[in-house]
Symmetry: C2
Amino acid sequence: SSFVAGQALNSEQKTQLKQLQSTALQSQLSYQLIESLTTEVGHRLMGSAGDEKAIIWAVNKMKALGFDKVWTEPVTGSYWLRGTAKAHIVAPYPHDLVVLALGGSVATAESGITANVAHFETLADLQAIPDNSLEGKIAFVSYQMTRHIDGNGYGPAVGTRVNGAVVAAQKGASALVMRSVGTDNNRIAHTGIMRYQDKVKKIPAAALSNPDADLLLNQLKRGGEVSLYLNITARTDAEVVATSANVIGEFTGSEKPDEIVALGAHLDSWDVGAGALDDGLGIGMVMAAAHHIGQLPQRPKRTIRVILFAAEEVGLLGAKQYVKDHQAELDTHVLGAEWDFGIGRIYKMTPGVGAQSLNAIRELGQYLAPLGVALSAENNGRAQSDMGALSDAGMPSINFSPDGEHYFDYHHTENDTLDKVQPEALKINTAIYTMFAYFAAQSSADFRH
Amino acid sequence: SSFVAGQALNSEQKTQLKQLQSTALQSQLSYQLIESLTTEVGHRLMGSAGDEKAIIWAVNKMKALGFDKVWTEPVTGSYWLRGTAKAHIVAPYPHDLVVLALGGSVATAESGITANVAHFETLADLQAIPDNSLEGKIAFVSYQMTRHIDGNGYGPAVGTRVNGAVVAAQKGASALVMRSVGTDNNRIAHTGIMRYQDKVKKIPAAALSNPDADLLLNQLKRGGEVSLYLNITARTDAEVVATSANVIGEFTGSEKPDEIVALGAHLDSWDVGAGALDDGLGIGMVMAAAHHIGQLPQRPKRTIRVILFAAEEVGLLGAKQYVKDHQAELDTHVLGAEWDFGIGRIYKMTPGVGAQSLNAIRELGQYLAPLGVALSAENNGRAQSDMGALSDAGMPSINFSPDGEHYFDYHHTENDTLDKVQPEALKINTAIYTMFAYFAAQSSADFRH
Ligand SMILES: [Zn+2]
Ligand SMILES: [Zn+2]
Ligand SMILES: [Zn+2]
Ligand SMILES: [Zn+2]
C-alpha cells in the first residue's frame, strides 16, 4: 500500500479510501455532469432563463445520483441584461473592435459615444490625474494580465475591471474601455463584474479582446488623436427582483448527522460561453465526489453536504444568503472546500484549521501525496470563492491549488466550453475531492481546534 | 565562413550574400510592414474599401522602399458581401452558435431556415446517400481537420468547404453547415471560398466553430431530432464589376534586366481578421527581401520583381490575370517563389527546376542550411498559391516549407491578427527569401534546364 499509517482513519476506512480513489479515477461521472450541464443548459446568469433551467437540472441530477436530501434555498437579486456591445475605431484608421460590456455596466446613449481616447497603462496612472480632466474622452486602460501557474496575474489586473469605471467617472470620462483580464490572444473579450459607487456618475464600461487592445495601442503609438465609437445597450431592470436559488444536497451522516463536511461550487455563470470551467468543473467535481461516497455500503459518520451556490458572479449573493440563513448552524460545518478555479491538476493543499488538527491534515496529505498534492507549510487556507464567505465566518477550510496557467485564457468568455475541460486532470481532481470529503466525514478530528 | 565553395556565385557575391543575411536578420522591416498594413488598412477582400486602401498602401510602400518601378495591373471580378450569419440550435436544447458564411455563399430566405439536421462524418458519407433524400433538412458535415507540421490536414478537410454545398444540394438539403476547417478550439469560425455548380441549386453554406460543432454533435448523440435555425444575408452583386489590381514593383537588373526573379504574395485577404498571416506575412517578406537587395551599392544582374496578387482568396483572379497579361514574357521569369503559408520557420526547400540547374540549387541549399533549411530530394516543387499558376505555365519554382503547425488555428478567421506573427521566425524567413532572391538574380544558372 502507498498509504502510511495514520490516526484519523482506521484500517478498514483506509481500505475504503483507496477504493474510493480507484472508483473516482475510473469514473467519468464528473465529466458527464459537465457535458450534461453545458449541452442541456448552457450559460446561466443570475435571473436568466438558463439560471432557472440550471436549478432544475441540479435538483434532478442530485436526486438521480442518490442524494439523501435535496432542497433549494431562495436567493434574490437583480437581473442584468447584456444587450449588445459594439465598438470601432473611427480615426485615424477605422477598424471594428471585439468588445464586451462588463457585468453590471449601464448603457451608452442610444446613438453611442464617439470620443477621443485617453490612454493609461494602469489604473494607478488613471487615478493619478486630476479629477474632471477627462471631459469628453473615453478612458482606455491597457494593462495586460500576466500568465502564472497559480493565476496570480489576476489580482493586479482585475482592479481595473471592478473599480475602473468609478475612477474614470471621477476623472470626467464618458466611458471606460479596458484590455480584457485574460491571458489569451483571441479576438474574444472577457467579461466579469464591475461596480459603481454612490454619488459617482455611472458610465458605461467595456473590455476589448487582447488583439483589439493591441491594435488600439498601435494606433495611439502613432501619436495623433485616436477616436473611438462605443455603443452598449446593457441594462439592469431595477424594478424587477430576480429570484434564484442555492441548490443543496446531502448524504446524511450515519453517526454525526449534524456535523457537516461542506463541498461548494457555484451554479451560475456569465452569460457568454457555457460555464464549463467556471464553474462547471466545480459542479461536476463536488457532485461526483459526494455520489462516489454515497455509493459505499454505509454512510460515513458525518454528513456530506454539496452546496451549489447561486449568483456568485454578480457578487457572491448565494454565499452571503447561505451564511445568513445558516448562521445558527455554521459551527456545525466541520470542514469545507470549494472548487472554482483552474483546469489543470491540483498540486497543493493549504489548510486553514485549528493547530491541534494539523496532524489529521498531515495524514490526509499523505493519502493525497500519490496524486501529486503537496501539503503547504502554511495554515492560512481560505476556501475559494463562495465558500470563502464561510471560511470568513469561522468554518475550517482547505484550499486546493490547481495548475491555473490556462484558466484565464477562457475565463468569462465565449470560449468557456466543454472542449476546454481536461478529462484526465478532472478525474484526478475529483478523486482528490472524493478522498478529502470521505476523510473529513470519517475522521474524528475537530478541525476548529 | 559557414559557406562552402560553389560555382554560381563568385567570392565577392558570396560575401554580399552573407551581408544580406546579416542585414535581414537584424532588420525589423518585414514585421513593420505587416504592422503598418494591419494597423492602417486591415482586411481587404476583393472589391472592398479595404482592398482599395491596400493597393494604395502597397504602391506607396514600394515607392518609399526605393523600388525602381512600381505599377498596378487591373484585375476584375465580383464583390461578395458577407452580411450577417446567425445560427442557433432550436431543439432539443437551445444554444446560440458561432457561425460564418462561407465565401461566395448565397443568403437564406430573409426569415432564415429552420430545419432538422442530417449529420455526416465526412463529405464522402454525404456523397454516398441517394439524391434528393435530404428534402427539408440541413446537412451537417462534422469532419475535423487534423494538425500537422506541414499542414497536410487541410487537404482532406477543405473539400467539404469547396464542394459541400453542391453535394448537399444534390441530395436535396436546404443548406450546408460544416465544422470549420481549422485546428483551434476557439469560438471563432473559419471562412474560405466555396463553389456552386451550373444546374445545381445554390444553397447557403456556413461553418461552425469547432466548439459549436462539438455541441451540435453532443446534442445529436442523444439520439433525437436536432433542429437548427440558420440566417445568412450574404450576397454577390452580379451587376457590379469589382476592380482590383495586382501591385508590382521591381529592382531592375544591372546586366539582364529582362530576366526576372519573381517573388509573390497576395494583397487581398478575407473580410475577417486583419490578414496578418494570410498573407501579410508574405507581403512583408517579399517586399523586405527586395528592399534589402535594393539597398546594395549595385543592382544584381537580373531583375527582382515583387508581385502582390489581387483576389487570391476568391479564386486566384490576380494570378490568372497575370499569366494572361504576361503570356509573352513568361519565359523571362527565370525562377519564382511565393509565401502564403505558415507562421513558423522554414525547414525545407523543394525545387522545381531543370535537371541541369540542380547543382546551382544545391549551392543555394548550402547557403541556406545554416538557417535550418533542408534541401528536399524531390525536384517537383510548385510555387505556393498564386505563383503556382506561373509554375504551371512553366516557370521554374522553389517551394519553401514552413512549420505550419499553428497556421490553421487562425487561417481565415477574426483571429488572423498581428499578435499571431512570430517576429523571430519572420526575420529568419525573410533572410531566406532575401538570400534566395539575391542568389537567383546573380546566378548564371538557367533554371529551365
Ligand atoms: Zn467562478
Ligand atoms: Zn467567474
Ligand atoms: Zn493566402
Ligand atoms: Zn487564404
